[in-house]
Symmetry: C2
Subunit: 268 residues, 2 copies
């Protein structure tokens, strides 16, 4: 994993404590002290102290067997983050989409250099998809990723073009091709991926809009054998439009909030 060499580029204690939290992930939900130290790249004694503080703050808890895990307090705080609001708002439309198409659906947002999966609902003809809520998907070779990328600021696109890692023989790795595809995505409002991320899986995605641009992407996954994915398109568009409408409504209520209220009008 990481080399302890540059061990302390982080000056602040706070950042170090957060580094400790970062040692946990979906496949490491409970760690003992040594693992925690190893995975966070910090000295054992330091982690011991930091973990004690995190427990005092209830972000971590210590189980009877001595291992640490993420505490319920973290869960509570996480509920206050934007993804929760988006998820709840979009859920009914995701359900409609699953009901209408029978396929697995994804809702994702842009998160730095990748797409963060906000929710995933399995269709009746379930594909063996792993990426659950909280997981990341690459931007350059998934439908939701491309949908997000198509309306991303330049620096994100730059970064994505720089790191086009190959996942299957079908993965695009030429930035020029990707840019051309994104032009098309912007024009048609639809992003596609055919086995570019996983063999045997095609997907289709559309953007979800807020008042200030694209806020998420909504996609369906289907086995390659599916005859006409195009039939899913109408459902996708409907769901996206409904979700967008609800999202913009919530922006007005301050439920999700975005930037400052539109200026210009002098008070009456």
């Amino acid at each position: 994993m990481e080399k302890t060499s540059t061990a302390t580029p982080s000056r602040s204690v706070t950042v170090r404590a957060i580094t400790v939290l970062g040692a946990f992930d979906a496949t490491h939900r409970a760690l003992n002290l040594s693992q925690l130290a190893r995975r966070s790249g910090l000295p054992l004694a330091t982690v011991h102290r930091l973990a004690a503080d995190l427990i005092e703050g209830r972000l971590l808890v210590r189980r009877p067997d001595g291992r640490y895990e993420v505490g319920a307090r973290m869960w509570q705080l996480g509920l206050l983050a934007p993804p929760t609001a988006l998820r709840e708002l979009a859920l009914p439309h995701l359900q409609d989409l699953v009901a209408g198409t029978g396929h697995t659906v994804h809702l994702a947002v842009l998160d730095g250099p990748s797409a963060l999966v906000i929710d995933r609902l399995a269709g009746s003809r379930t594909l063996p998809t792993r990426h659950s809520p909280g997981g990341h998907l690459p931007l350059h070779c998934t439908a939701v990723g491309k949908a997000l990328l198509a309306w991303s600021p330049a620096d994100v696109l730059e970064q994505a073009c720089a790191g086009m890692t190959r996942h299957t023989p079908y993965t695009l790795t030429d930035p020029r091709l990707l840019r051309r595809q994104l032009d098309e995505v912007r024009q048609t409002g639809i992003a596609r991926s055919a086995q570019e991320h996983r063999l045997g899986v095609s997907s289709l995605a559309v953007p979800v809009h807020g008042h200030n641009g694209v806020v998420a992407a909504l996609g369906v996954l289907a086995p390659l054998t599916t005859p006409r994915l195009t039939s899913a398109l109408a459902h996708l568009r409907t769901a996206s439009a409904s979700a967008s409408a609800d999202y913009m409504r919530s922006e007005l209520d301050g439920g999700v909030q975005q930037a400052e209220p539109p200026p210009g009008e002098p008070a009456p």
Copy 2:
């Protein structure tokens, strides 16, 4: 000359940083710097620095309008906490319960001196209940609370008896009465509350079991006018049994994990 105001006499920086996080709640999802300082009881300059660190660690984000809010990273970390696993595991059974009874249902766990709501599904005949996931309910005057309290360690019961605050004219405030009710709950396996927390609302709850005791409580809420809440009881018991079975299964898989494996047996 330290000013011991309401502030935290907290020694460690980490705990202070977490105090800043604690300034956010369901009704304060976005705060500017001054509010953050005021609500966390720390000096402005200190909060300014801590918030910068928290942003560097991505637990907070700063919106274009300058206000802070909880970041997606916190949401991701929160997904690793036990409540998420429990919630997903129990969801199908909560849905069955709603379908079977038509009432609003609650899933809650013990969290210090109160019950933490893990999930809430609104029934068709929706009651105006607020307590959403992440919220707290009192232990002494709600059905889920009593169900949890009945199998809690002595110190929790002690604490609950000490703080029996009145919510309605029907709220029990005599510890002796509460203890007697809890005896009954242990005997029958059912906890009840009739308008003790909210006027016009009765509720019924049962415990959910893990291998090491009660891990959660499952309850239904209904308007007082509902004729026979007893009919919901069978559904409750079924749902609870199914959820318990699933939970214990997940304990074996290490999905939820609990304490150490049972000792005693020398290896075969």
